[in-house]
């Protein structure tokens, strides 16, 4: 049987983390292909519904990547995102999707290596954890 490959939905801020992914690419850094990247203009526009829907559709993990506090292109979108993530984490945790499956990380445009590390770490972590409990539910979850 082939090894379990986690599906990670990654919402990356256009100005930093997405650019970091670009940098990782141009620097020829390789990282696991488990990330399915969705480019957003700011982490502040990641509606909690996006994350819930991703999990309900069987994502094993969700990663939100944004600018470090103080660096937001829109001044404070990332800080709003952090409060929303804290709130949503409390909701999901009750039913078995904890902090280990739902990550928010600050990755600046220059931090291509950090992007690589985060991608590796999260994929490894999810491989240990196994498939999301929502996967077994299939269409029930939708």
């Amino acid at each position: 049987m082939s090894e379990f490959e986690p599906q990670i939905v990654a919402f990356f801020c256009n100005w930093c983390t997405f650019t970091a992914a670009d940098l990782a690419g141009t620097s020829r850094l390789s990282y696991p292909p488990n990330l399915k990247i969705v480019r957003v203009m700011c982490t502040g526009m990641v509606d909690p519904k996006f994350v819930i829907k991703a999990f309900l559709n069987g994502a094993d993990g969700v990663l939100i990547g944004g600018c470090w506090p103080g660096d937001c292109h829109y001044i404070n979108g990332n800080l709003k995102a952090r409060r929303r993530v804290a709130n949503l984490t409390e909701v999901l945790k009750q039913y078995g999707i904890g902090e280990d499956r739902f990550w928010l990380r600050w990755i600046a445009a220059s931090e291509g290596t950090m992007l690589k590390e985060v991608a590796i770490n999260m994929t490894e972590k999810l491989k240990q954890l196994g498939p999301s409990p929502l996967r077994n539910m299939g269409q029930m979850a939708i």
Partner: protein
């Protein structure tokens, strides 16, 4: 210094004596209107907006029923204000929802006099009808509830009320005190300066503070808190996975009544009734193709989880969601248990204070560092 007026009454005379106070408020110009639970001409008790002192006879502020949340009515009356002063007699849960709505700019407290009633709980709408048919009155309810007996032959107060640790209202100008009062008396308390002025203007007189109130409130809060924690533990032990949650929500038909009844579901237009969720046939087919089948209506779990992230920070535990559910889902413990977690995360308590900032309305650079665990 709180100021009390004792309202003494003969058997079956409580509402008659209380009506004099409301009549006084209107007749002497303390307020222009009173919003209070009132016996309707033929059947039932509903919040009613009274503007004439000649129409206060039917007031029934302690009636153990709340067919809809008064906070929503308060929002209708004040969000776009009339400019007239209004006294609103509301239950503690409704007052707490009013506090939240005021911070969300959906209630305007400028011309209002908030009067919070002591609440032993409420019956479901249909149970209250039975209660009345069997000869129950607010007076008999209070008398029995003081002795810890809220159940009648075939009904009891709602599940939400049984675990409600807020039987007395805060953040009000006045209180109608019944907890710990001796039989044959209730008390009107002026809490704020605005309340004192209104009490004076109403002409209500007669001293004496309810001696046993503080002790009785404390006792009731302790009992309710214990019941609440037990309920939370029971819920968390049983409903601890998405699978079990889906089982719990299996009877849900996506009618969204829980959201309509919720006093703190604050969006003016719920996203679940917008075009975002009005999919075309092709989309449904695509979803069905993914797993070979699709349950319809879909997005049931999605709806409830989204509501948890939206309103649980402001959930006051009134239980209107459960009352409104036509399919017996009983979402109240689900939302309350969730609210307990989300509010604790932000050290927030819905309805506690008008000055506490809404958790999602603010942000700081140096907070919640544990979310990312990264320090520069």
């Amino acid at each position: 210094m709180a100021k009390f007026v004792k309202v003494s009454f003969q058997k079956d005379g409580m509402n008659k004596e209380l009506s004099k106070f409301f009549k006084g408020l209107l007749a002497n110009g303390a307020v222009d209107a009173v919003l209070t639970p009132m016996a309707q001409a033929r059947k039932g008790v509903r919040l009613s907006l009274v503007t004439s002192p000649d129409h206060t006879a039917q007031v029934d502020p302690f009636a153990p029923v709340a067919a809809v949340s008064g906070a929503k009515i308060a929002s209708s009356l004040t969000a776009r204000p009339s400019g007239r002063k209004i006294a609103m007699v509301l239950r503690p849960c409704e007052i707490r929802a009013v506090v939240e709505l005021s911070k969300l700019n959906q209630v305007n407290l400028e011309d209002t006099l908030l009067i919070g009633m002591d609440c032993f709980g409420r019956y479901e709408n249909t149970d209250f009808a039975k209660f009345q048919e069997q000869g129950g009155t607010s007076e008999s309810f209070l008398e029995n509830a003081q002795a810890g007996k809220t159940a009648t032959a075939d009904c009891d107060i709602t599940g939400a009320c049984k675990i409600c640790e807020f039987p007395a209202a805060d953040n009000v100008d006045m209180k109608l005190c019944a907890i710990g009062a001796e039989n044959g008396a209730v008390y009107i308390e002026a809490v704020t300066e605005k309340g004192e002025q209104a009490l004076e203007k109403s002409g209500a007189k007669g001293g004496g503070a309810p001696a046993g109130r503080d002790e009785a409130v404390k006792k009731l809060v302790a009992a309710r808190t214990e019941a609440r924690d037990k309920k939370f533990a029971e819920f968390r032990e049983t409903i601890n996975s998405f699978e079990v949650l889906a089982d719990k929500l299996a009877p849900c038909v996506n009618c969204y009544n829980c959201r309509v009844a919720c006093p703190v579901c604050y969006c003016k237009e719920c996203v679940f009734v917008t075009d975002t969720f009005r999919h075309n046939g092709e989309q449904f087919m695509m979803w069905a193709d993914q797993g070979g089948m699709l349950k319809l209506p879909n997005d049931t779990l999605f709806f409830h989880l989204t509501r948890m992230t939206h309103m649980s920070l402001y959930c006051v535990g009134c239980g209107q969601c459960t009352s409104a559910c036509p399919n017996g889902v009983d979402p109240m413990p689900m939302f309350r248990a969730c609210a307990d977690k989300t509010q604790a995360r932000f050290n927030y308590q819905a309805g506690r204070s008008l000055s506490d900032e809404l958790p999602l309305a603010g942000f700081k650079a140096d907070e919640l560092v544990e979310v990312t665990g990264q320090v520069k």
